[in-house]
């Protein structure tokens, strides 16, 4: 036993040494490929472009206004509205006398001036004389959009005017304190429900206190107001502060991870007020929740300011910064894909194959420098944008997915041209999969399917539990590992140096993982069972990719109205699952791993369907984060949901139904796969229909 352990340790050491040797060789080659001159040239290019843009933006000549001058607006240059139009980049002013609506302009601003003793003069019109304004627009979508832009431009102009106004009370008569609260059920709301309303009206005083502290500039009001308003920093107001308000504030403060000094003060307030009231117990409860419930606190601090300074909780800046992590990956995978494909052209990789190194060691060694580079780049960006270790933990699975997908792409590609397309495809897919869920970071826990959501949380300064981190990173890491395993299977001489269409390469890679199933063999021989087990395993491994495909399908079909998107989605999902279950079987028949007989088809069909069913049930963890709360999510993951709260018999039936479905549908597809390509396509369509019909049934029953 100890000997064996020692032997294993020695082997691991040898393997590690070999991997490192290949990695050293690869990085020296990569450094040779991208020599210093190339690198210097690239840096110089970026520096020049960055400098030009930077100077342009700084001097106001340039700006990333993609909508610059898209609407033409006729306006009298003497009118005060000319300034408003000129200040909006998307509007181009056309002097009123040249303006012809529908030809040279999309909208015309008509300034109606109150009649005055001066009569119409040629000089500029004073703003005070403007009686009203009419915007006449063409009767097109563009005209309507132009008119809306004009209104926005005038609103922005007024806002600028008011900011310069000395009489602040008249310019900004309204102050708003926005806070987020959970509906009853959360203990934080206890005192609110119990508290009588009389005093809580004066709770507004807290807001006023905050506002008056920051008063002056509108910009600072929006930013700095929150702490002051929260704390009710005006001590005089504390005595009259209503119970409900204080309770709320305390609850809000305990959620605030910033943990500023106002915290203790606020809790004191809550305690004091509660003591005055007749329900002290509930106030203590309000102090209670030190640990935020899942999903709350996401919205960060409250905001105070004028109404226009209220912003919906959308993590725009954090998202933009999170995107910065993905940029270097695109360059990295180009170099990595080139390196892998380089081995395959002109049989360059042959000498490496005849060494005692195993394919896994070669691939690990070749990948290591790029993985290290990705980690280094991620760490650097994290330092630059103020992210912590969590950001790095979140980005690394994405980097692994980029590398894994590129590895498979480079193993399948026939030429550099094909690799370019595959690389672009990989970039687009992985980027959207990582980025799009992160947009919904503050909205729904489903966002955690993307590890990038962790980065957004990290940049927002939110705490993330270990479970959430695991949920977010594990699937993508697993997927990347499976991709490497897929490519590794064909890292051998007969596949490495041959050129085939990508689909045929994929079939090869799948068939490698299967063991022969023959028609003559005993039905339950151990060898046969093991072979069928490998079929089930292969299908089960497809689950992560099936989920990715289904999520992307949900996103892509999102734009359609629900009446269209749900049926299309159900069929798409059925198709994706049927392909996932039967592609391996088709590969087995085509590559001669399975005997072409109906008995074998039934055996492998049952095995594949069962493998899929088991793997899908294993992912019931999806339920934990409430993915099934979404309507579209429910359609996609119907089989996983709704298992709790049923009698055992009903539960068994609920479990058996999808199993039967998967087995039957896959057997149909397998029967087609035996008979060649056309028959497989027909059988696949048939099994998709069966599956879709079942899905429709489940959704309409549920």
């Amino acid at each position: 036993m100890i000997d064996r352990l020692r032997g294993g340790g020695a082997r691991a050491r040898v393997a590690l040494r070999r991997v490192l040797r290949v990695a050293r060789w690869e990085s020296s080659r990569a450094a040779g490929g991208v020599d210093r001159r190339t690198l210097a040239a690239a840096v110089a290019l970026v520096a020049v472009a960055g400098g030009v843009v930077g100077v342009g933006v700084a001097t106001g000549v340039a700006g990333f206004d993609v909508d610059r001058d898209v609407y033409r607006v006729g306006v009298d240059p003497a009118s005060p509205y000319a300034d408003a139009v000129a200040a909006d980049p998307s509007l181009r002013a056309v002097p009123a006398r040249e303006a012809a609506l529908g030809e040279t302009t999309d909208a015309t601003v008509i300034t109606v001036v109150a009649p005055s003793s001066d009569g119409p003069g040629d000089g500029p019109i004073a703003a005070a004389r403007v009686d009203e304004v009419v915007v006449r627009a063409t009767d097109t979508r563009k005209g309507a959009a132009a008119a809306a832009s004009v209104r926005e431009a005038i609103e922005a102009h007024n806002e600028r005017l008011m900011r310069a106004e000395p009489n602040e009370t008249a310019a900004f008569p309204l102050t708003v304190t926005l806070r987020y609260a959970e509906r009853s059920g959360g203990p934080a709301d206890g005192p609110t429900l119990g508290g009588s309303g009389g005093e809580s009206a004066t709770g507004g005083d807290g807001a006023t206190g905050g506002e008056s502290a920051t008063g002056g500039d509108d910009a600072t009001t929006a930013d700095g107001g929150s702490a002051a308003a929260d704390g009710g920093s005006d001590p005089a107001g504390d005595a009259t502060d209503g119970n409900s308000d204080a309770g709320d504030t305390a609850a809000d403060e305990t959620r605030d991870t910033a943990g500023d000094t106002v915290d203790s003060e606020t809790e004191d307030t809550a305690g004091d007020t509660a003591a005055d009231e007749d329900e002290p117990g509930e106030a203590t409860e309000a102090d209670g929740p030190a640990v935020p419930p899942v999903g709350s606190g996401v919205f960060g601090a409250d905001t105070t300011g004028s109404p226009s300074s209220i912003t919906p909780p959308f993590p725009f800046v954090s998202l933009l910064l999170a995107f910065a992590f993905l940029v270097p990956m695109n360059f990295l995978i180009q170099a990595y894909g080139s390196s892998i494909l380089d081995e395959r052209t002109n049989r360059r990789g042959e000498p490496l194959l005849v060494t005692p190194l195993s394919p896994a060691e070669i691939v690990a060694g070749k990948t290591l420098p790029y993985a290290v580079a990705a980690a280094a780049a991620t760490a650097l960006i994290a330092l630059a944008v103020g992210g912590g270790a969590l950001s790095v933990v979140g980005v690394l699975p994405v980097a692994a997915a980029f590398l894994g997908a590129t590895f498979v792409g480079a193993m399948f590609a026939r030429s550099f041209k094909e690799l370019t397309f595959l690389t672009v495809g990989v970039s687009v897919l992985v980027t959207t999969y990582a980025f799009v869920p992160a947009i919904f970071t503050n909205v729904t826990p489903v966002a955690l399917v993307s590890p990038l959501t962790l980065v957004v949380f990290d940049l927002q300064g939110e705490a993330v539990s270990a479970g959430q981190t695991l949920f977010s990173t594990a699937p993508m890491t697993l997927g990347a590992g499976l991709l490497f395993a897929l490519g590794l299977g064909v890292y051998r001489e007969e596949d490495l140096f041959s050129q085939k269409p990508v689909t045929r390469k994929l079939l090869d890679a799948l068939a490698v993982r299967l063991s022969p199933v023959t028609a003559s063999e005993a039905r339950l021989s151990r060898r046969r069972l093991r072979a069928l087990g490998s079929v089930a395993l292969l299908t089960g491994c497809a689950i992560p990719f099936v989920f990715v495909a289904e999520l992307l399908a949900v996103a892509v079909l999102f734009a359609l109205p629900v009446t269209v998107s749900v049926p299309v989605l159900l069929v798409t999902i059925a198709f994706v699952e049927e392909v996932a279950k039967s592609a391996g079987l088709y590969a087995g028949f085509e590559r001669g791993v399975f005997d072409r007989s109906d008995a074998v088809a039934v055996a492998v069909g049952v095995a594949s369907g069962t493998g899929f069913f088991l793997a899908e049930k294993a992912t019931a963890v999806v339920q934990v984060v409430g993915l099934t709360d979404l309507f579209l999510g429910r359609a996609a993951f119907a089989d996983v949901a709704g298992l709790s709260g049923h009698a055992p018999a009903a539960l068994a039936a609920l479990l058996a139904a999808p199993l039967v479905l998967h087995v039957v549908a896959t057997t149909v597809a397998a029967a087609g796969a035996v008979r060649g390509r056309t028959a497989y396509a027909v059988a696949l369509a048939l099994s998709t229909l069966v599956h879709a019909a079942y899905n429709v049934g489940v959704v309409s029953l549920g």
């Binding site: 898209v70 005017l161 987020y180 008056s212 709350s296 909205v443």
Partner: protein, 348 residues
Amino acid sequence: MGSRLTIAGRELAGLRAEKTILLAVGIQLFIAAFSSFLVVGLVSMYDPGALDGAEIEVAAAGDAVDGVERAAAEVPGASVTAYADAGAARHAFDRNAADAVVVATRTDEGRIATAVTAPDATVETTVVVVQLRELLRAHELNERAARAPHLTEPPLPLPERSEASPYFAFTYTVLIPLLAVLPVFVSGALVVDSITEELDEGTLELLRVAPVTLGEILDGKAAAAVAIAPGQALLWLLLLAANGTSVANVGPILALMTALTTLVVAVAVGLAAIAPDRRAAQLLYSVAVLALFGGATAMDGGPANAVARLAIDSADATTGALVAAYAVIAAAAYLGVRRVVVAEGLGR
């Protein structure tokens, strides 16, 4: 001419055989579908009024509640119910009878303080907050108008609200330029691959024993790449037109795309000629194109903005001149690069 066409045909046949061009079209289709997901998703978060029936119910209280009620009458998408006191309003919120609570009180300084409570961390939060903002802005305008005599410079009267589709501007200023410009990048990458691959495998030497000059080989490869990008752009514009988005100035847009592709191909040929291998060439190419387009987009009359203005039919004489200028620059760049490469020869 014939030999150039032969080479261009060979390039295109290679792409067709690999069917990779289908992947490129598939990627674009995916991006287009995805952008509509993004735009509908994001716009409906920011501008819920665009969605039918997105109306929020606000529970209001406080001594200045009448102003909130008045504002609600002017704003579509928000209705206000007054409650006797803040506790009652909050109770309505807690039992889901209201989406938000607004408590408006007059302060000693003559302002109105509004304490707003919105639901925490739910899908509808953004919608609620956006509608609340509209409501409170209307309220602010009313109050400001009432105090106008105290202002040194009164705000300008606003025109009527107009019903505009929020997707309109996005479609023309982001989606169409993006879909038009993406094939341009891919075309350049193809040229880099095509040249470095021939150098790598030594097939360029074989080609050179045929009666063609190096210039003709470059022309053929460039022609194939330049032909693809405007073709793909046209495909997109047709798809959009079929989808009900009318695109103006299709001719000038395609001319602009051809010019841009030529420019990018010139960069690609130059880099493929000087870079030591494919990896270096692709890296330099990506950086150069990013820098080129990033810089150009930031400038007045950048390609993305030019496409947007052409497509939305806001082009004027300067836009036409811009397209011509791009064409001249592109032709000059390609001819210059070709001349240098023919003189210096390909290879390291």
